[in-house]
């Protein structure tokens, strides 16, 4: 397969943004406020995405009224906003000029969004008993997506998408280390069978090797210009899988061999996205992967939840991290996941911390080759202590969720990038 860069380098894009001409102002535009006035923050992203799908250009007003959107004023958009319950404010030419003056003067920026990114969610064909915050967020916001899993990744289909989401997958191939504690559970047996089936279909010796190959495909996808967003255990295990290419970190139940007792020393962190120098947790009975996660929810070392704070970036100098932290609240309640948070001592130099909670980070961003990645710890922002088998969160009750907003910021972020180059 020929892999060619599909997007311009980020730096080029930033230059492009700064040179974006002020659009010729129509008689009126529609402001989608994203501060506390907004009746449905999450569906506002869906409205913006839908507007992009219609071929319209949108502006994201970073740090202005919670990260408002400026849409063209058309009957179709008004109608769509009404159906989605999204608050809009018609703004005339004079008001738009005032807004632009404010943006020029303050720590704000107007970023044009020009294409609706094509979205893939990495998920097995049957996800029970899990649910996935990103799937729920996209579904609620009415943002279309397609699903991919190991076969599609291995067959090169990732390159059909601009945006890839990973959630609670265990890329170390150890079934989230639930193999012992949930032995006999139907869902676990199905998961094992499903993974073994793909392993034999693609002629891999075992599931950990399969998952490592998938991880390497994902890494290559990002390097060539893809955008990766990962949550929960996918963050930590993806890096562990990548860094363990020359050592065995998996429990014997996963690959039939005992792990390398010196695996931590043999890890090659140059292959990882975000983390370095972590101690791998090799004990099969301990439901943790390494010491990257600070909270260790399912272990004796479990730490209590607190609050995490979003960083404030310079909108004009750092529009990318600014986009990713747009919110109407800057202190958010923390939430557990198999990987909840990231020890700062395990972060690679150059990783941007977007949100932190004391000595650990919650939300990370970085670039790799032509692409970028974002890691967000935790499972469900509105269900802090989500248990296996719990019903999914009803987002109608959390339409203003600041934690879910962070997910949707990521969905729109690739919309701000230039169209792929035809090479």
């Amino acid at each position: 397969m020929i892999r060619q860069p599909r997007c311009l380098a980020l730096a080029t894009w930033v230059v492009a943004v700064s040179m974006w001409p002020v659009p010729s102002v129509a008689a009126q535009e529609l402001l989608v406020p994203m501060d506390l006035v907004q009746a449905n923050h999450l569906k506002s992203y869906g409205l913006t995405y839908w507007t992009l799908e219609q071929g319209e250009t949108v502006e994201w007003l970073l740090n202005y009224r919670g990260g408002a959107f400026l849409l063209p004023d058309t009957e179709a958009i008004r109608r769509e906003a009404a159906f989605r319950g999204v608050t809009i404010e018609p703004v005339d030419r004079a008001r738009v000029a005032q807004i632009r003056e404010t943006i020029a003067r303050e720590n704000m920026e107007a970023v044009p969004l020009e294409t609706a990114p094509k979205i893939a969610i990495y998920t097995p064909p049957s996800t029970a008993p899990w649910d996935d915050a990103v799937t729920m967020a996209l579904t609620y916001a009415e943002i279309p997506y397609e699903t991919v899993w190991d076969p599609e990744v291995l067959e090169g289909e990732l390159y059909e998408y601009e945006w890839l989401h990973l959630h609670h997958e265990d890329f170390t191939g150890q079934y989230s280390k639930f193999y012992l504690t949930y032995a006999g559970a139907d869902w676990l047996q199905e998961e094992v069978a499903r993974n073994r089936d793909v392993t034999s279909r693609f002629d891999f010796p075992d599931v950990p090797t399969l998952k490592r190959a998938v991880s390497e495909e994902i890494r290559a996808y990002v390097e060539s210009g893809g955008f990766l967003f990962a949550m929960c255990s996918a963050t930590e295990t993806l890096d562990l899988a990548l860094a363990s290419h020359s050592t065995d970190i998996s429990a014997s139940y996963a690959d039939g061999r005992a792990p390398d007792p010196d695996a931590s020393e043999r890890m090659d962190w140059s292959q990882a996205f975000a983390f370095t120098q972590a101690e791998v947790e090799l004990r099969p009975s301990v439901n943790a992967f390494s010491d990257i996660d600070f909270h260790l929810v399912n272990t004796a070392g479990r730490q209590p939840l607190g609050f995490f704070r979003l960083f404030d970036f310079s909108a004009k100098l750092d529009p990318v991290p600014t986009m990713l932290v747009q919110n109407h609240e800057d202190v958010l309640t923390d939430f557990y996941g198999l990987t909840t948070s990231f020890r700062k001592s395990r972060l690679k130099p150059g990783v941007t911390v977007l949100a932190e909670e004391g000595e650990w980070a919650k939300y990370l961003h970085g670039s790799l080759g032509e692409g970028t990645w974002t890691f967000y710890g935790g499972h469900d922002p509105e269900d802090p202590e989500h248990q296996i088998g719990d019903p999914p969160t009803n987002l109608d009750l959390h339409a203003d969720s600041p934690g879910y907003r962070l997910i949707l910021n990521n969905v729109l972020f690739p919309a701000a990038r230039p169209r792929p180059l035809k090479t």
Binding site: A39, R79, A82, F83, M136, T139, E142, N394, D396
Partner: protein, 222 residues
């Protein structure tokens, strides 16, 4: 005023949750040992004295209505909303119509209001039609539907029309024989009054009944 109107809408939603309309008939007159109201004729007589009398009715109802369960309070709150909004000359007939409704004479009560429409100021007619529909709904849902149709046709922009759209849409959809009309009315409400307190309920009903291809939150993607 606005507080009362919103409360009317809220109570109507409570009513619609159990089946559209039917706010009060099964509860009987508000007399006996629980809550004692002045007689209907007494209150109508006060209202005939003009604004001061209407205010007296209002105070009497307000002092008692909070002690009623919501299904019985609905019609009284609706009456309060109407007599505050309309010309005082129209208030006595509204009170008597409500009295008939409470007395299980829903058709007679709504008929009384419909007969009074011609003489009422144009600006009061939507409120009277809304009250007539509310009264009729207790005994004759078809008549209530006809009255709401008339309200929507003759006064589509009146404040009462928004609530009437929701109730009428629910009636069409619950009945099952005019689902397209039900969805059309919901669409009018959602698009025409997206910030109205009833708009979220309209969206829910719209999606639950297949509007925009929906079958409830969670559909439409993937």
């Amino acid at each position: 005023m606005m507080g009362v109107r919103i409360r009317v809408a809220f109570l109507t939603i409570l009513g619609t949750a159990a089946g559209f309309g039917h706010g009060f008939a099964q509860t009987g007159p508000p007399s006996g040992s629980d809550v004692s109201f002045p007689s209907i004729e007494e209150m109508a007589g006060w209202a005939e004295e003009g604004e001061a009398g209407v205010e007296r009715v209002r105070s009497a109802v307000l002092a008692r209505v909070t002690a009623l369960p919501s299904e019985r309070a609905t019609i009284w709150v609706q009456l309060l909303s109407v007599i505050e909004a309309v010309d005082p000359s129209v208030a006595p007939v509204a009170i008597r119509a409500v009295g008939l409704g409470i007395d299980s004479q829903a058709a007679a009560g709504s008929e009384l209001l419909l007969n009074a429409l011609q003489a009422a100021p144009v600006s009061d007619r939507a409120a009277l039609l809304s009250l007539a529909a509310q009264i009729a709904d207790a005994g004759d849902s078809a008549l209530a539907g006809e009255i709401r149709d008339r309200l929507l046709e003759e006064h589509p922009d009146a404040p009462e029309a928004t609530e009437a759209r929701l109730v009428q849409a629910g009636w069409y959809l619950a009945d099952g024989d005019r689902p397209d009309d039900g969805l059309r009315l919901l669409e009018e409400l959602i698009v025409g009054s997206p910030q109205h307190p009833l708009a979220p309920e309209a969206r829910r009903l719209y999606q639950a009944n297949g509007g925009r291809g929906g079958s409830g939150p969670g559909s439409g993607a993937g």
